[in-house]
């Protein structure tokens, strides 16, 4: 009896397609990305972790990259798919620059291009396993949007991926306002990232904060957040718990 794993039943009707495989599950993944609009542009934060399942395997993964002159892309999910997306965008920006005609792709155009890519892959049941955050400034207009692996896309004043949606967005809904200063924006992002560090098991304490304004992109050097573990509930976590766990 042949016990080798085979994904095609013997009477497969797939024909030549049967030889290539589709994305089934991710391998090396990044966790949340959080971003918000502030006075001069967009601020985005992501940690530098690349998890291999439950192992926090890689700790220097840059999950935010500048795209062209006007955009910044942050990604969570499968790291190799993020790298593939960067290659697509590299080619897109290259051809855009080659026109050399005073027109350039802004963040809105890049976001929509990515939406098309993600949605078309989803339709072929071979998704790029990422949730993307695309922010930028062009001609004074700030833009912040997100696209998921199934092609769901929208723009907002603050966005997050993965766990960030559950832990960071509520904080942002309460405390975000128009025309945040740079310092206030960073403080707000750090507050979100600290909560994620405490509560998301795939978070690592090494993060970068990126800023994009009309002038351009700056991505900070990696740094760590101060944490406090001496809360009495942490000291004796099982105290009030009933049962064996």
């Amino acid at each position: 009896m042949n016990f080798m794993a085979s994904k095609q039943p013997e009477n497969s009707l797939l024909g030549p397609e049967a030889d290539s495989q589709r994305t089934l599950y991710p391998y090396v993944t990044g966790t949340s990305v959080v971003a918000l609009k502030y006075k001069d542009g967009i601020l985005m934060a992501a940690d530098m972790g690349g998890s291999y399942g439950s192992t926090l395997r890689y700790k220097s993964v840059e999950r935010m990259k500048p795209i062209g002159k006007h955009s910044l892309l942050g990604a969570s999910g499968e790291i190799s798919d993020f790298q593939e997306i960067l290659r697509y965008l590299d080619e897109l920006i290259l051809y855009d620059n080659m026109w050399d005609d005073g027109n350039s792709l802004g963040p809105k155009e890049v976001h929509n291009y990515l939406t098309r890519v993600m949605y078309n892959r989803r339709n072929k049941f071979n998704p790029l396993w990422n949730s993307l955050v695309l922010g930028g400034v062009k001609n004074g207009q700030k833009y912040l949007g997100t696209v998921s692996m199934i092609g769901v896309n929208f723009e907002d004043n603050h966005v997050a991926t993965g766990f960030g949606n559950h832990l960071a967005r509520p904080i942002l809904r309460e405390e975000w306002h128009q025309n945040l200063s740079f310092e206030d924006g960073v403080r707000l992002l750090e507050k979100c990232m600290r909560v994620l560090l405490y509560r998301d098991r795939s978070a690592v304490n090494k993060l970068q904060i990126a800023k994009i304004t009309e002038e351009g992109v700056t991505i900070s050097q990696p740094y760590s957040l101060k944490t406090y573990w001496d809360f009495s509930a942490f000291a004796n976590p099982a105290q009030g718990a009933v049962g064996s766990w």
Binding site: G102, N103, S104, L105, K108, N112, R116
Partner: protein, 273 residues
């Protein structure tokens, strides 16, 4: 231009380095009814003469909306023009769908020119027999381009193509320096005056011409006959003083141009103009 042994095929060079089939295609543009275009910093106006074959028939459509921010006026084989307009509309709509942003007119024009060039280098094709005046807006402002059957394209402040276009060109050459800062309505008036020049004394009526405008905050649209007639009436009376001055110039300019045209044929390839 006379028949010769190098003009059967578009892929045959003449010893003087000319492709006669391409030049013949450009002749087709010159035989079509006139189309003119002019622009300011914020608006572009297209106009054309619409002569119907007979009183019973309707006139041909020569101005096409390509997208909200781009329009085109054609001269020559209108069937070829329709096909190219369909291509342009397709390109615009695909770009809009992918990028949620209007296709920059400068890029569309290059794609159009490359499409025309292909037809000058395949033995089983023929060049498109239509000249296109492409009017559009992009990030860097208002633009007017002329696309040639040869695959060349040029940007213009103002231009005219088709039969008797030299008269319009002469008028535009006199006035073009003022166009950059012209308000929209003055630009339309100048377009109508330029069209009138090509009519050689025949009365300018809104039933024989079409005018279209595109500008910042104004999507491309063709002006309706009523509006056009109003504008004609508004300046026709004022224009009477100008008429004696322009006519002799226009007549003289035309004669000189046609002489030069005949002499030039034996010399420089017109594709490079």
């Amino acid at each position: 231009m006379f028949r010769n042994q190098y003009d059967t095929d578009v892929t045959t060079w003449s010893p003087a380095g000319r492709l006669f089939q391409v030049e013949y295609a450009m002749e087709a543009v010159k035989q079509g009814s006139a189309a003119i275009g002019l622009r300011s910093k914020t608006h572009v106006v297209l106009g054309c003469v619409n002569k119907a074959n007979s009183e019973l028939s309707s006139h041909q459509k020569k101005i096409f909306k390509v997208d909200d921010h781009i329009g085109v006026a054609i001269s020559g084989l209108t069937a070829d023009g329709r096909v190219l307009s369909r291509y342009m509309r397709n390109e615009c709509i695909n770009y809009s769908f992918t990028y949620e942003s209007p296709l920059p007119v400068g890029r569309l024009v290059v794609q159009l020119a490359d499409k025309a060039q292909v037809c000058t280098q395949r033995s089983w094709k023929r060049p498109y027999g239509v000249g296109l005046l492409v009017a559009g807006l992009d990030e860097s402002g208002a633009h007017l381009y002329y696309n040639c059957p040869s695959g060349n394209y040029f940007e213009y402040q103002a231009f005219a193509i088709g039969s008797r276009s030299q008269a319009a060109k002469t008028y535009l050459e006199r006035r073009f320096e003022n166009f950059v800062d012209s308000p929209r309505d003055d630009l339309v008036k100048d377009a109508l005056m330029a069209i009138r020049e090509t009519l050689q004394g025949e009365a300018l009526k809104s039933s024989i011409c079409t005018v279209a405008v595109v500008g910042v905050g104004e999507p491309f649209h063709i002006l309706d006959q009523g509006t056009v007639q109003q504008m004609i009436d508004a300046f026709e009376i004022a224009g009477e003083q100008e008429v004696p001055a322009t006519d002799p110039d226009a007549a003289a300019g035309q004669e000189a141009a046609s002489e030069q045209g005949a002499a030039a044929d034996e010399g420089v390839a017109p594709m490079d103009i």
